[in-house]
């Protein structure tokens, strides 16, 4: 493509929608259930997550501005030396592969439950991975373009909340602070993963044209998706009882199910199949980052690395006899995500302590 020879390719719209679309994955669908330990008081939690994420963005972008042309992989090698850096990168790569598998497998399970009832997911998984590879082939800019497109494609899903609002009860939102500290921590621990995805900015930061304003654009994208997540959570709180929130695995999908048009029922089928756009934008961004990871570990960029990653993901999702292990792995990997949220802060500190000659400033 025409942009191959240029490093800086992402304009402000690309940044906004990359942040926005990568955040929204399958976790949004189950978020009200994940936060259910707080009961009805959970509805403002997405806003709190937004504040946390926005604060976490600051060290990420500060670090990026110090190393304007380097992805986090390269920064690791610069800060920790070649071998320690590569080891950290290898761990990151494994993390990306596990996240990719977790996202694809949780989405395909939903597809299996809702749309393709009782059918094997092998073929849908292969097609999903191939589609992801196809999107990543065009580079980060084409992923960003895809994000813009999927945003507008899926905007219509908000209409499906119509029935939830109509039948819901706004009084569920009160009282606001009806929970214990323990319930709050359980909810945050389980729910924070819903905003995972913005940390990828450390990897595509060198591709941003206007890096100085990146924080502003990234925050805008972040709050756009927080608004969506907030909206889904809020309507779920209005519509469901506390018992339902605790026991319904995917409350948002059930909200879709409430909708009935005169010619169409079971809008959740339409909703979950359209969700593939949001999943593709998430998996594409993670696959892109994973590919950059292999590139940096092997010190040579190759297109075939994409297929390596995809094969690993396929194996991880379809590995037989390990369902219990998979479930634990896919749930626990998000603790590594929380660590990655905080990681740039540590890197910033190391960068400040390090002697000046190692700086990658242009």
């Amino acid at each position: 493509m025409m942009d191959d020879n240029k490093l800086k390719v992402l304009n402000r719209y690309h940044v906004v929608f990359l942040i926005q679309n990568v955040i929204i994955g399958t976790t949004v669908l189950s978020l009200p259930h994940r936060l259910s330990s707080m009961g009805y008081s959970q509805w403002w939690m997405p806003l709190l997550f937004g504040v946390v994420a926005n604060l976490l963005l600051i060290p990420m972008i500060w670090l990026g501005l110090k190393y304007r042309n380097d992805t986090l992989f390269v920064i690791h090698e610069k800060l920790f030396g070649k071998w320690a850096g590569k080891t950290i990168n290898a761990i990151l790569l494994i993390y990306f592969i596990v996240v990719l598998s977790a996202v694809s497998s949780s989405f395909l399970q939903l597809i299996q439950v809702v749309a393709l009832v009782d059918r094997e997911i092998t073929a849908p998984l292969i097609i999903l991975l191939l589609m992801t590879i196809y999107i990543v082939h065009g580079g980060i800019k084409s992923i960003a373009r895809f994000c813009i497109m999927s945003f507008f494609m899926t905007l219509g899903l908000l209409y499906f909340l119509n029935w939830g609002i109509a039948d819901g009860d706004i009084r569920h939102t009160m009282p606001i602070f009806n929970f214990t500290a323990k319930q709050f921590f359980t909810a945050s621990k389980k729910g924070l993963m819903a905003i995972g995805g913005f940390e990828l900015i450390s990897f595509y930061f060198p591709y941003i044209i206007n890096q100085k304003k990146a924080l502003k654009h990234a925050s805008f994208g972040l709050w756009l998706s927080i608004l969506f997540i907030f909206f889904f959570t809020f309507v779920s709180v209005m519509f469901f009882s506390e018992w339902q929130l605790k026991n319904v695995l995917y409350p948002v999908l059930n909200l879709f199910k409430e909708g009935q048009l005169s010619y169409l029922e079971r809008l959740d089928v339409l909703g979950i199949t359209m969700w593939v756009f949001l999943i593709l934008s998430t998996t594409a961004a993670y696959l892109w980052a994973a590919k950059k990871g292999i590139d940096s570990i092997r010190s040579s960029p190759k297109k075939t690395h994409l297929y390596f990653v995809a094969v690993f993901v396929f194996i991880l999702v379809k590995f037989p006899y390990m369902e219990a292990f998979q479930r634990i792995l896919f749930e626990r990997v998000f603790y590594l995500m929380y660590a990655l949220f905080l990681w740039p802060i540590l890197l910033c500190l190391i960068h400040m302590i390090k002697p000046k000659k190692n700086e990658g400033l242009e």
């Binding site: 493509m1 025409m2 304009n11 402000r12 719209y13 597809i111 749309a115 393709l116 073929a123 849908p124 097609i127 999903l128 589609m131 196809y134 999107i135 065009g138 084409s142 373009r145 895809f146 813009i148 497109m149 999927s150 494609m153 044209i209 206007n210 009935q260 005169s262 010619y263 169409l264 029922e265 079971r266 089928v269 339409l270 199949t273 359209m274 593939v276 756009f277 593709l280």
Partner: protein, 417 residues
């Protein structure tokens, strides 16, 4: 020696040593007059190629607006365009392509508006072309494509001089060819292929209505029959009970799966279209009656297909003829089969993945290195005045972002801050 040429008004002096020029002059149909004593060659235009008269267009007709179509003579076509733009900035560069046919090609542009980078690309591409001969400009168009494997047309081909002129005024480049009715306009965006010139002659309200019909019709025609397949095969629970009952009743005696049923009916329509397109008009009407009434009704009565499907297939066939660009209308037919197969394989999930493919493909296409999806993802906000809604004419003074036209006042559009 020149005095002899001055006597003969249409004569041209040729150097004696320039044998190639003499030969090409003869193949063009000229007469060579040779003066022994002075060793002088005069090439005299004693031949004028028969050209068809300027006529109305059959393929891109409109109710209001100019009716003339371009002809097969390059000279006439250029004069039709020059007649509309009386401006010294209208420049023409001439090329000869195809070593066997030696076909003349002209590149037209407005020197004060055109993006020079785009112009360079076009000229370089034409100079690099390696193809033995040309019968029509469509071949040249495909050779200029940046993505030859894509089903989508990446330049606009038209026989209407008014479209060419508005293209030139936008800062686009027009390529014309000898012996070819059409001219190509580059660059072009996906959305612009749904714009008919009549949109600009109608009131803005009518124009916007028809334009959105054409644009959304394209997406409707590729998902109507696939949706029938996926809903009946994979998600019957999506239909309300009454509708489902209705559908199942009409499908009651059909022995095929929805997928086979749709494929059968779509192929029948395809065959009718193909058979009708080469028939003389009078026989064509018969084909229409045979196809429409006999096959339609008989197929239902023979329980080969359901009533509902006949309606859906007919509507989607009609919708596929909406795009003013004929190639785009053909593309919609091809893309529909892709959707039919993915719906047959994975239901709605397959359809959505097919949509993801379609959108990603469109997003990565370029026309003269400019993204094909502008102005859906606008390069300039003023592009939105002339998108699905066509604003009243006084808003239309801005150049579209895709042409990257020269403007002294504005900074280049692709730079930020």
């Amino acid at each position: 020696m020149q005095s002899k040429a001055n006597v003969l008004q249409t004569a041209e002096v040729i150097e004696a040593s320039d044998l190639a020029n003499i030969i090409s002059s003869v193949t063009e149909g000229n007469t060579i007059l040779y003066f022994h004593i002075e060793d002088l060659y005069l090439s005299i235009k004693t031949f004028s190629a028969p050209t068809a008269a300027i006529a109305e267009t059959d393929t891109e007709s409109s109710v209001i607006g100019p009716q003339n179509a371009l002809t097969e003579s390059l000279e006439t076509n250029l004069s039709l365009l020059k007649r509309r733009i009386q401006n010294p900035n209208l420049k023409i560069k001439n090329f000869v392509v195809g070593p066997e046919t030696n076909t003349k090609v002209s590149v037209l542009y407005m020197e004060n508006i055109v993006n020079e980078e785009n112009l360079d690309i076009v000229i370089k591409k034409i100079e690099k072309i390696d193809h033995p001969g040309f019968n029509d400009i469509s071949i040249l168009q495909q050779l200029l494509d940046e993505h030859p494997f894509s089903p989508f047309p990446q330049y606009h081909e038209t026989v209407r001089p008014d479209i060419a002129v508005s293209g030139l005024l936008d800062g686009r480049i027009v390529v014309a060819m000898e012996n070819s009715n059409g001219i190509i306009i580059c660059p072009i965006s996906f959305f612009e292929l749904f714009i008919s010139p009549e949109d600009y002659y109608n009131r803005w309200t009518t124009a916007s209505l028809l334009r959105s019909l054409r644009f959304f019709g394209f997406f409707l025609t590729i998902i109507l029959t696939p949706t029938y397949i996926s809903v009946l095969t994979y998600h019957p629970e999506m239909l309300p009970f009454d509708v489902l009952l209705n559908l199942q009743e009409s499908r009651g005696k059909v022995p095929f799966s929805p997928f086979m049923e749709v494929l059968f009916m779509e192929l029948v329509i395809e065959i009718l279209r193909e058979a009708g397109s080469r028939m003389p008009t009078k026989i064509g009407q018969t084909i229409g009656i045979v196809g429409g009434i006999v096959i339609g009704t008989a197929a239902v009565e023979a329980s080969l297909v359901s009533n509902t499907l006949i309606v859906i297939v007919a509507v989607s066939a009609l919708l596929s003829f909406l795009p003013p660009n004929f190639i785009m209308s053909n593309t919609s037919r091809f893309v529909r089969y892709f959707f039919i197969f993915s719906a047959g394989l994975f239901g709605l999930y397959g359809q959505m993945l097919a949509f993801a493919w379609l959108f990603h493909h469109l997003l990565s296409l370029t026309s003269l290195n400019t993204p094909y999806m502008t102005p859906l993802i606008p390069r300039k906000w003023t592009d939105l005045f002339d998108s699905v809604v066509r604003m009243p004419t006084k808003f239309l003074k801005y150049k579209p972002g895709i042409a990257r036209a020269q403007t002294k006042k504005r900074p280049p559009v692709d730079k930020e801050e």
